[in-house]
């Protein structure tokens, strides 16, 4: 009996080991570009039921293995130019987020990952980069499409949604859409890439929209400029020098 068990384990184990890890799959997915270092200037058109506002934001991102840093700062209107959001994702730790204003730098509490970025419909959590830390990840074949693979991410700490479905382009890893759902499956927010440029591994979004399906309103982002420098100054991502 003992031998039989060992045989079964020996037969099954290689298949288990070969099964794809959604965390690894997600780590190769990207929102803007697969390049490890990039700077992108984004135009934001924030629509609410009561009106609209515009912002221009510069987003700098650097990935170093398991670590990734992103800094977003407002470039227009000018009176907000001292305002920055810094997100540091290191190893297995939950992301650390700082906000900088003309009155100083404050770290945003772990429970506030759902704070919106610059009054838009993006949150600190989902703006700039994507990773699986702090989530229970799984594939869901029934949600796959011909060209996209669906990953279901359930937050491990309290959040404003119960799960997030992330669709990733099979060919290049571009995150084409995301849905934030409640426990009953109702969609609360939806992210959708509406225009792209390039093809294959070089495919990048030109325009994307995040919609609030509960209260109405959406934020459309347009990529105004894009650069991929070899590296970015280290102090850029240091809370102390914000």
């Amino acid at each position: 009996m003992k031998r039989l068990s060992l045989v079964i384990i020996a037969l099954v184990f290689p298949f288990l080991a070969a099964a794809e890890d959604p965390a690894i799959f997600l780590s190769s997915a990207y929102l803007f570009t697969p390049e490890p270092v990039f700077v992108v200037k984004i135009g934001m058109n924030i629509q609410e039921p009561g009106g609209q506002k515009t912002r221009e934001v510069e987003l700098s991102v650097e990935k170093q293995g398991d670590r990734s840093f992103s800094l977003s700062r407002v470039t227009r209107p000018a009176f907000l130019s001292d305002m920055k959001f810094l997100k540091r994702s290191e190893n297995e730790k939950v992301d650390s987020i700082w906000v900088k204003t003309s009155r100083g730098v404050r770290r945003i509490g772990d429970g506030n990952r759902n704070e919106s970025v610059f009054g838009s419909h993006f949150t600190v959590e989902d703006f700039g980069s994507i990773d699986g830390k702090g989530f229970d990840l799984s594939f869901n074949k029934s949600l796959d499409t011909n060209s996209e693979r669906a990953i279901v991410a359930k937050p491990l700490s309290p959040a404003t949604y119960a799960l997030r479905v992330i669709w990733v382009e099979n060919d290049n890893g571009l995150v084409t859409r995301m849905e934030y759902r409640d426990a009953s499956g109702k969609i609360l927010r939806r992210y959708l890439v509406t225009k792209t440029t390039g093809s294959g591994k070089a495919m990048r979004p030109l325009e994307a929209r995040m919609e609030d399906l509960v209260n109405g309103g959406s934020t459309t982002i347009s990529l105004l400029s894009f650069s991929t420098p070899a590296s970015l100054p280290e102090h850029l991502f240091s809370p102390g020098t914000l």
């Binding site: 924030i46 609209q52 009176f79 906000v99 204003t101 009155r103 404050r106 506030n112 009054g119 404003t160």
Partner: protein, 722 residues
């Protein structure tokens, strides 16, 4: 004593088969209307609509920038709001409300200390946490609220002995009322106030109550008819005929597709009253004219037509009202008069023509008392009367205009007591919105403008009648206090301070709150101005507006101001109403005196008759002043009833030459009408209760004037001629 008039057998009216035919046609109409009755729709909206919408265009424009949120206030009284028990109770109530919203997919906004977050600095960390967290004890919540004057005023009562929660609804209907009543069954200490609660409660009970009240009025009428005539068949006959025009009128409303609104509720009651009056006079004449319907009709046609004419004059005063509901009420009331005339002058004689033998009636009907004594009261009585008139006139000057929250539910009910509780424990229930437009994107992020805005808010707080003022400067102050802590200056020193604070506020947890203060593109902002309970919209709102404009011209020159909110709307609507009502009343009295003078060919008689509704008005308005009731578009319909029916009795008495029979008929009619109208005191709506009481007092005063004052006037007139 019951008497039978045996001398004259009843006669036919139109002869065979016409009497039967007319009666059957009437019966067919009645049955058709009864069949339609279940289709009567109800609209419990209390808002009065102006015929001329342009008067409200400024308010509409302001509300298009910041759509008003219809808030229900939920109070959770507790001796110490921060005790573990109170926190637990608050958490339970909040969870229950959030659960309901989520389960039923309601588009309701819920603001509670458990759902509204504040920014908080802990060391170098910035946290956004709900004011009350179920996992924490009350001390954290206490500290958060003590550090925030704005949130303290919003979520706690003045004495700090109750939590206040806010429920904003997208649509007002019975669901809210049902949910809140259900909530209170689990949390009996809860108290509710606010327009959505009031209106949903109105919605919930109005359609149930209307039929019951009408049925009760009909029953009361039957009992009084029997008490007056002491004959079951006669009481039933008169009762049925007095109901027919009312039912036909309701049938007409259904056929026109008009829903029954609270503003129209008096129309069927007035029709009931008028038809009862006509029927009483015609029936008494039939008895006295040897049971000959033709003779009775000939005897009373001119009086009834005259009555109807003057009543139409009374109701026609409503046609000049700027309030669309009152105009419609005027038209359907006139339609009610027309239907009553047709039924009573054609249908009733035909039905009387079918009688086979004289009825047994009480002696006072068969043998009316002698003519009225035409004596002028002595000096003491005249002085007493003058004193009463003086008191009533002085009291009527105290009347406020427009209804307030306390006028909706009777003060002796749980709902009325709740409103009174809120008025005592909050700075005020009514709130106006001051919308400030800069005309350019990000226009409010301007240091000079911001300093001016802070000054304007300070100035507003000093205006008498203003309770609580809170606007974007208070929110930005809160953010700076939380972000900077005690170490830095909390004053706004740069445009970055303003913009960054607003940006932080527009985060997901704060956005729901900040949207009520700042327009999306930061070109407009809203300052909330709560007014004290004794703030009178018509009297005080124009003063507040003028003072604010003067302040703003110095503090934020160039900005465009406009006002929003129910209290502003009410000031415009009720102001237009009162102007229309005053001019309508003058038109009515003018036309009445001229019409009567021509008809009677005597200015003296015309003036004497006009005194009757005038005294009715005085009694009604004086009583309102004494009781501290407001005159609104809703209860002012009582004045039209007093004018219409009060003149009736005066004309009958004058035309019938002060006869005892005319006087008795007038008294009987008043008893019947007042009896039926007083049934409305059982209504759940204090406005309707007020209307019924005002109406009853006015009608009784009119009748007393008719009986006692008119004969004295006649004597005076005779003496003058001699």
């Amino acid at each position: 004593m019951i008497e039978e008039v045996k001398s004259c057998a009843p006669r036919q009216f139109l002869g065979f088969p016409w009497d039967i035919g007319v009666s059957l046609i009437l019966l067919a109409f009645l049955l058709a209307s009864l069949a339609l009755l279940p289709r009567l729709r109800f609209d419990s909206t209390l808002e009065s609509h102006l015929s001329n919408r342009s008067a409200l265009s400024a308010v509409d424009a302001a509300e298009s920038i910041f759509p008003p949120e219809h808030l229900t206030l939920i109070a959770l009284p507790c001796a110490n709001p921060f005790s573990p028990n109170s926190i637990n109770r608050l958490t339970q109530v909040s969870s229950r409300i959030r659960g309901w919203i989520s389960t039923n997919n309601e588009k309701w906004n819920f603001y509670s200390p458990t759902t509204v977050s504040t920014l908080e600095k802990q060391g170098g960390n910035l946290l956004s946490s709900p004011i009350v967290e179920s996992s924490h004890d009350g001390n954290a919540a206490k500290e958060r609220l003590e550090a925030s004057p704005l949130l303290h005023k919003l979520f706690l009562t003045k004495d700090g002995n109750a939590w206040i929660l806010y429920l904003g609804v997208d649509k007002i209907d019975g669901r809210l009322s049902n949910f809140l009543i259900d909530l209170r069954s689990d949390f009996p200490e809860l108290k509710f106030a606010g327009a959505p609660w009031v209106l949903s409660r109105t919605y919930d009970t109005f359609n149930r109550e209307f039929g019951l009240l009408l049925a009760l009025a009909a029953l009361v009428l039957l009992v009084i008819q029997y008490a007056l005539y002491r004959s079951v068949p006669v009481a039933l006959f008169l009762w049925a005929f007095s109901l027919v025009p009312t039912i036909l009128l309701l049938g007409l409303m259904i056929a026109l597709g008009k829903p029954m609104r609270i503003a129209y509720v008096l129309a069927p009651v007035m029709t009931l009253a008028l038809s009862t009056s006509y029927i009483t006079h015609l029936f008494r004449s039939w008895v006295l004219c040897g049971h000959d319907p033709g003779k009775a009709l000939a005897d009373r046609t001119s009086i009834i037509l005259f009555d109807a004419g003057t009543t139409v004059f009374g109701f026609a005063s409503m046609l000049f009202s700027p309030i669309a509901d009152l105009v419609f009420l005027g038209w359907i009331s006139i339609a009610g008069v027309a239907i009553s005339l047709i039924v009573i002058m054609i249908g009733m004689p035909a039905a009387l023509g079918l009688a086979r033998r004289p009825p047994r009636l009480s002696k006072r009907i068969v043998e009316p008392s002698g003519p009225s004594r035409k004596s002028v009261p002595g000096l003491p009585r005249l002085l007493g009367l003058a004193a009463i008139i003086l008191v009533l006139a002085a009291s009527s000057l105290r009347i406020g205009i427009g209804y307030e929250a306390r006028d909706i539910f009777p003060p002796w009910t749980k709902f009325g007591r709740d409103i009174s509780w809120f008025e005592t424990h909050l700075s005020g229930l009514n709130e106006a919105g001051l919308v400030i437009q800069t005309g350019r994107e990000n226009g409010i992020v301007d240091l000079r403008f911001w300093k001016g805005l802070e000054e304007l808010e300070g100035g507003l707080r000093r205006i008498p009648g203003v309770g609580f003022v809170y606007g974007p400067p208070d929110l930005v102050g809160e953010v700076l206090a939380r972000y900077v802590g005690k170490a830095g200056s909390l004053d706004v020193t740069s445009e970055a301070d303003i913009g960054e604070s607003l940006e932080l506020l527009s985060g997901s947890t704060g956005s729901i709150f900040s949207r009520g203060f700042v327009g999306e593109d930061w070109s407009n902002l809203l300052v909330h101005v709560t007014v004290s309970p004794d703030f009178n919209a018509i009297r005080d709102m124009p003063i507040l507006m003028a003072k604010t404009t003067a302040l703003a011209s110095q503090t934020i020159p160039g900005a465009k101001l406009s006002w929003s909110g129910d209290i502003v709307r009410s000031a415009v609507v009720e102001g237009a109403f009162i102007n229309g009502q005053i001019s309508g009343t003058f038109v009515f009295f003018g036309m009445l005196v001229v019409g009567l003078a021509i008809a009677f060919r005597s200015l003296w008689k015309a003036l004497a008759i006009s005194i009757v509704p005038l005294m009715g008005f005085l009694a009604a308005l004086g009583l309102m002043g004494i009781l501290g009731w407001n005159l609104s578009a809703e209860n002012a319909v009582a004045l039209a009833v007093i004018a219409g029916t009060g003149v009736d009795s005066a004309i009958v008495v004058v035309k019938r030459g002060w006869s005892g029979e005319a006087r008795d008929a007038t008294v009987d009619t008043t008893i019947l009408v007042v009896g039926a109208i007083l049934v409305l005191v059982f209504s759940s709506f204090f406005l309707i209760v007020q209307t019924a009481i005002i109406c009853a007092v006015g009608l009784v005063a009119s009748t007393l004037t008719t009986i006692f004052a008119l004969p004295a006037f006649a004597t005076l007139n005779s003496s003058r001629r001699k």
